[in-house]
């Protein structure tokens, strides 16, 4: 038995571990050892990748490329390949993953199972929109090959399906042509939420990547709007890889009521002062936190929660304002607060998170009942707005909110693999 935590470090329960070695053996291995749960890099924040006292099938050994066509940008690989390895292999050849989240230290299988999105959602959609085919091993020993046109129902269940329809063994991805590793970026400070929305709307046509950091303290909603485009040929040396590691778990969260106000103010003013146009390497622009290994230790021994919601645009401004007010009056606070508009497009998966509207992502050090109390208030706002929470980030949403936010849940349940369940699936789906 091995103690496994997910990225939020809220628990450390014992698990049995079995590594998956070879793609052609996975279905047999599952049949022999089920029930269990696939587990990749463990980067989902809550209990989605956990199965306390049960079995985890480790997918990180399935880390081989199978084929890459440089003319078409089609990549076939095993599902344990890291997005980082795809980027580092393909960018020098003029191709890039169309969609990546804020970290590249996740597996392809995890990216599909969460249908992850990036800052360019309004331009290109989510990860599942670029999956051409995938191979799914089931615990009855069978294998399902599916894609947007081949068994599209299986595909739609598996994209965003949290690993519950089977273990993704291989996938074929369509990469996007790029001129190089550079992004042309611009940072625009904004004073409040009313300024954010016009800025977001005005940026969507001309900028592929848009995101904003928002200062959730004080309630006004000032922030920094960042936008970027892949940039043409710029002859610059690649920056040297420089990573640091959070060396230890501090006894208390470094993100706390004392540190946050000066930290957020400093961050806002530093970047306001440096605002304007710049050139950034794709790794620095897209994955700033990957350079600080183990950054999740910053929140101390009790771990932290992420709370990411999306609410429809029609009520977006008011709902976000109400959430900021609730946070301000609760005395809790967040540093990694991100506000972004999603594009007007239907997501490929039955349980995909992105929907048209505005998404707010927040981090909160775990302070027990006080933090959970705040979440109840935020839940009420999200529910009233007709929004949903992101399962990849969640560790505690009530089942009612999950059911209300994901109307295709009943349809999804038909595709569940009965030999697979997680702490999250038992919490939110009953099995």
């Amino acid at each position: 038995m091995v103690a496994i935590s997910s990225w939020g470090r809220l628990s450390r329960d014992a698990h049995r571990i079995e590594a998956l070695h070879a793609p052609d053996q996975v279905a047999r291995q599952l049949a022999a050892s089920a029930p269990g749960l696939p587990h990749g890099m463990g980067r989902s924040y809550g209990d989605q990748g956990l199965n306390p006292d049960g079995l985890l099938w480790l997918t990180t050994g399935l880390n081989h490329f199978i084929a890459f066509d440089e003319r078409t940008g089609r990549l076939v690989c095993e599902a344990g390949v890291l997005l980082r390895d795809i980027q580092r292999m393909s960018v020098p050849r003029g191709w890039m993953l169309p969609v990546t989240p804020g970290t590249q230290m996740i597996t392809v299988g995890g990216a599909i199972a969460n249908d992850v999105h990036g800052k360019n959602h309004h331009a290109v959609g989510s990860f599942g929109d670029h999956v051409l085919a995938l191979e799914l091993a089931r615990t009855d020993g069978s294998t399902v090959h599916c894609g947007p046109a081949l068994l599209p129902d299986w595909f739609a269940a598996t994209v965003g399906g949290m690993g519950l329809t089977g273990v993704i063994v291989t996938a074929e991805l369509q990469l996007r042509p790029v001129a190089g590793p550079w992004f042309a970026t611009e940072t625009v400070p904004y004073a409040n939420l009313d300024a954010f929305f016009p800025l977001a709307d005005a940026s969507e046509a001309a900028w592929e990547h848009t995101v904003s950091w928002i200062d959730c303290l004080g309630g006004a909603g000032r922030g920094l709007f960042m936008r970027g485009n892949p940039s043409g040929v710029i002859n610059r040396p690649e920056p040297a890889a420089r990573t640091r590691r959070m060396p230890l778990v501090p006894p208390v969260s470094l993100v706390n009521g004392l540190s946050l106000p000066p930290f957020n103010a400093l961050y806002f003013h530093m970047n306001k002062w440096r605002a304007g146009r710049a050139i950034a390497h794709y790794e620095a622009f897209n994955y700033p936190l990957d350079n600080l290994l183990d950054w999740n230790r910053m929140y101390g021994p009790r771990g932290f929660y992420q709370y990411q919601s999306v609410v429809p645009r029609s009520v977006g401004r008011d709902a976000v304002q109400a959430m900021l007010d609730a946070i301000a009056s609760s005395g809790e606070g967040s540093f990694l607060a991100v506000l972004k508009t999603f594009g007007e497009r239907a997501a490929p998966g039955m349980l995909s998170f992105p929907q048209p509207g505005v998404t707010l992502a927040l981090d909160f050090p775990n302070r027990g009942p006080r933090t959970l109390k705040l979440f109840e208030r935020l839940d009420a706002i999200v529910a009233e707005a007709g929004g949903r929470l992101y399962a990849a980030k969640d560790a505690r949403m009530p089942r009612s909110l999950f059911e209300a936010g994901y109307p295709r849940l009943a349809e999804f349940m038909q595709y569940r693999d009965p030999g697979i369940s997680s702490a999250m699936s038992r919490r939110l789906m009953g099995v």
Binding site: P23, G61, M89
Partner: protein
């Protein structure tokens, strides 16, 4: 190096450490890589991966019989007949179950053969060719387990101890040539095969880090590479502990 093609042979190419070394070599230069493995399908899977990572390089896979000295000799002769080899990495082996080896002498013999005798036969077979060509680096993967026998894995440790002495002998024999023999001693490494040993994620070295230290150490032509380096200090202490203390340790 840029227009020179580096000829690399990896024995036991499906080992996670060997595979990550190959990825680093392919990233750094144009290579001709020959992969040897017991299971051709698994070795081909590694080859396909390396072809994607290094499209300018040429990667081929060959099935190898690790137990038959005649087959080893023939295969190495054939590989060296097409031109001198720049890098050889002998990486095969399998971590045996100590208790099983104590109870079953057949399993014991097999563990000694695959982890000890087979690697040194490959090394011997390559050494002659490399000596005649007067070039190349021969890397042999031993283990920190070979530094001192201990109750929890002395069968594996003894096999790796054989590799250690053999490497020393080759280093002595080839000292006057341009051939470098590098003995590599990885500590416990976080590979899919050791997932069940993982306690906290922090205790085992990452396979990427271990591979980086091996590739660097081989490029420098070091005699011995502990990967990660801290194992040099740890094993120095373990080797020198007096028996009256050592015998009380449950390791």
């Amino acid at each position: 190096m840029s227009d020179q093609v580096t000829k690399i042979v990896i024995v036991g190419a499906t080992s996670a450490i060997a595979e990550h070394c190959a990825r680093l070599w392919l990233n750094a230069a144009r290579c001709e890589v020959i992969l040897l493995g017991r299971d051709l399908a698994k070795t081909e899977r590694v080859a396909a991966d390396l072809r994607v990572r290094g499209p300018q390089s040429q990667v081929s896979a060959q099935q190898a019989d690790f137990a038959d000295p005649l087959a080893i000799g023939r295969q190495v002769d054939a590989i060296c007949a097409t031109g001198p080899v720049d890098i050889v990495l002998i990486a095969h082996g399998s971590l045996p179950d100590q208790a099983h080896c104590q109870a079953d002498l057949q399993a014991n013999q097999e563990a000694l053969a695959v982890n000890g005798i087979s690697p040194v036969l490959f090394a011997e077979a390559f050494a002659g060719h490399m000596q005649r060509a007067d070039r190349g680096t021969l890397g042999l993967i031993g283990s920190v387990a070979g530094d001192r026998g201990r109750k929890s894995n002395y069968v594996y440790g003894a096999a790796k101890g054989l590799v250690t002495r053999y490497a020393q002998g080759l280093q002595h024999r080839l000292a006057a040539t341009n051939v470098k023999v590098v003995l590599i001693k990885p500590g416990p490494t976080d590979t899919p095969m050791t997932a069940h040993l993982k306690k906290d994620g922090g205790k085992l070295a990452s396979v990427e880090q271990v591979a980086q230290e091996i590739v660097k150490g081989m490029a420098q032509g070091k005699l011995t590479v502990y990967a990660p380096g801290k194992w040099f200090v740890i094993m120095m202490i373990i080797r020198h502990l007096p028996h009256f203390i050592f015998k009380k340790m449950d390791i």
